[in-house]
Amino acid sequence: MRRYKKTIIGSSLLLIILLMSCLYPLYGPADFNQKVLIHDENGRVIDRAPFPPSEEHWLGTTRNGEDVHWVLLYGVKFTLIAAFSVAVLRVIFGGIVGIIISLWAPFLKRYFKDFFLTMRYIPSILIAIILMIPIKFPDDVAISSIVTYQLIILVFIGFPSVTVFAADITDELLKTSFVQSSYLMGAGNFHIIKRQLLPYMRSYGILFTVQQILSTLQIIMQLSIFELFLGGANRAGIFGYDDPYGRPKLASMSYEWAGLIGQNFTEFTQMPWIVFAPLLGFFVLILIINMIKKELENNILGVQLMKTKRKRKKEKPLPAAQTHTGKFDFLHD
């Protein structure tokens, strides 16, 4: 288990954050310690939100007077759950379709690539924006259906690349000698999947999922800049925000981290804590997941490298043994 030390540490950290966020109603203040105005003893107003970080408000407060650290703690569960579920769905659908294409219909692979050629030339952020715009200003639609739609779109954006990857890897595995000999002995496709491919699929599936979590996090954050928030936007806008052009600034409804970044990024000159706290939090999340990804990549892809190296070493001594009859030996070659 020592080979997966970083993975275990990283995922348990994420799990702790998720649990703390899910259990927030049990211990946290329901209104995030909301306090808009500060009065002195005579009842006169001496200050109003937003307050900068201080001992009382660890990460400062929002314009609405809510403590940023409580808001962040409350909202992180949506970010994590959304990214994780999108990644898992992408890998499941893409993996299944990829394996089916590779095993039963290899000729389809080319056509599949052609069908989704658009995705190769237009960055996914643009496609996501175009597909998400229809629900930017929904008319009386329940949040659940907005979220479902957004998740479907997010899954769809990553689906082609995962499918092609999965098909490529399955093609590679089908060429290996153990699968070939299994076929020669009369195994069917289902048997191959169950016996030969499944052990590989487990490790590759986990690696894919982690990679997809990263890309989902990135795209959620980029979308939020364009005011396309996961979980819908609050049309009333941010409390106390004065726009020079008079339009309300949309606010994220779910307090999800990417949404918090997106709704506040214009305010970083006056109140940098509001946007930098979730942004740095996001950065930490990405760092943790990237650490897990690196280790998994090293373990899965590195193991194969080691095997080939070992093989080469085994093959080498043969000619050396034959030339041993000379007057001197090569100690290092």
Partner: protein, 291 residues
Amino acid sequence: MKRLLRSLIRIILILFGFLFIFTLPLVFGSAEDTVLVDFRSFWDGLKFNFQSLIQMNDSSYLELFKELDITNSYQYTMTILGGSLIVIIFLAIVISILIMLTPEKVSNRLKNGINFFEAVPDLLVILLFMLFVITLYKTTGLKFLQLYGVFGNKPYFVPIMTVSFLPLFLLLQFLVKVITEEQNQQYVLYAKAKGIGRLSILLVHIMRNIFPLLILQLRTIVWVLLSNIYLVEYVFNINGFTQQFLKLLFMGGDFASLVACLLMLAIPLLVMEALAWFISKFIKGKEAVSI
């Protein structure tokens, strides 16, 4: 004949894939609290979009597209793209050579530092650059770095710096990896044995050999640059192509305009692919001759 048929099928598939992706929102009609799957409106939308692509001689064709300030903004965006590409290639080659020339202990540490930047979100970089420019202005009063593109301003320096920051590290990582692999080759050892200095081995021999790989990698770099440029133009409020594109989207432009915009955005990538194709063909041809 068979080839012709196959390419015909390909073209039809690409077209339908395109139509499918962009009419996808119509599949999901929204009811009160569930998502309905509605194939009929999807099919109608497909037909409608297809028709709007074909009706060239209609007067409303590309109506919005002609209204927008396309050529200027496209030129501007492409200037930023080209400028940052040149900056990235130049800096990446110089820095990678410097890294390879430093002692092993230092260069290992530098490599780890480069790998760290892989995980930095692009938004963090953009906001930090903004903060840097603004604090520079506040503390020193110098206003030589233009940030926002309001009042017809066309800033170049800050957008190019911001856009090329992360891709630079991407290319640097790639170059360092490739050069390290190349240094294990026999000819490097031979050149070393002949007494050629490290710098000239790097500059003359290794650089020449990794040049095709660099060109092949440029597609990824342009891809990352493009998606960074959208963000930067939006955040800095620069009147580039992205703004026109978003205007088109939010004003509900017709499908043909959307297609035209997307094709224009794909041009740099197509150029890069063509370049890579020629390079690989050139190299293969050379090898065939040498054999």
